[in-house]
Amino acid sequence: MLESREITKVFGRKTAVDHISLKLEPGYIYAMLGPNGSGKTTWMKMAAGLIKPASGEMYYAGRPLDVNSRRDIAYMSTEPYFYNWMTAADVGKYYQDFFEDFSMEKYHRLLSDMELTGDLKTRSLSSGMMAKLKIAVTMARDARVIMLDEPLNGIDLLARDQIMKSIVEAVSPDRILLISSHLVEELETVADYAVFIKQSHLIEVRGLEELRASEGISVVDRYRRIYANAGGENE
């Protein structure tokens, strides 16, 4: 289980994450939703142990998050993070050196599922190919927590299908999947829960099927209600 308790992060004069308490359970896909700049990336980076909260604390498996937790947590950031001389195969070796749970076999299977080959140079990749490479190398880890920050940004329909497929395949009773997106409808059918973040605050966590069954609305409808009048709605 991954949990934040009253976690807050301030950058200069801007509070990026404001007292967010959120608990994620294994076995589920969570869609973290909200416009750009609402605090999704900052929360994920704190959960990945990459930045420290100003106050509040992250917990993983019932204990405060520490360097050891990183072994269990895979985080795919939006920033490019490969050296541009690397080939896709080099990226795999680089990851293998860093992470004990990295499987080269799985990496190559994912590359081929994504129609990529090991000899491709990262600097020559289109944005869609780069998005797929980042997914493949992240998902090749047998991590207990997988967090993907905006995996569907700037990609075409076919790449999207392949990425969605790899996300569905990664679901396991002992794994937490957290996917952020400002493209709400993309995650509509695959997520179990939607985590709505607005202006650095957590608004609510809703089960997507429960939303349809109890209110007869989709996550897109709910999203519109929460964000339509920026700052206007208090819930």
């Binding site: 569905v168 695959v190 099927e209 007869g216 609305i217």
Partner: protein, 128 residues
């Protein structure tokens, strides 16, 4: 398979309906093995937990049965399939009559309309 989902109905029920239709129309045969829950999730791009719920629901409706360790299979009970066709026809009829009621068309007029040849469809329209 890309399925267009209605926004107001739980996704598991929409997939249940899609499979019910395949059983009634014979696209799935009695005794046929169904894909695993994970493969169903991939086919419909749905969450695996939703896929499990689809099979639970179909099993409760006695439209499929599970053999431990072997997977799920379409019912071999022909009478159940015939009853399913009747249920689905009733659902369509109910929706149809409700739609005509909303338009203020009387039952008598509706019956006359059914007897007339169907007008040509004006292009394809999404069902919601």
């Amino acid at each position: 398979m890309t399925m267009k989902y209605n926004a107001s109905v739980p996704i598991y029920l929409q997939v249940v309906d899609s499979i019910r239709e395949k059983i009634v129309t014979g696209k799935m045969s009695p005794g046929e093995k169904l894909p695993s829950g994970r493969d169903l999730a991939l086919m419909y791009t749905i969450n695996p937990n939703t896929a499990a719920r689809v099979y639970q629901t179909l099993e409760q409706q006695k439209l499929l049965f599970t053999k431990r360790g072997l997977g799920s299979f379409v019912t071999e009970d022909q009478e159940r399939v015939i009853a399913l066709r009747e249920e689905m026809a009733q659902e369509l009829l109910r929706d149809f009559l409700e739609g005509l009621d909303r338009l203020g068309i009387s039952r008598e007029d509706a019956i006359e309309m059914i007897k007339l040849p169907a007008p040509a469809a004006k292009g394809q329209k999404d069902t919601d």
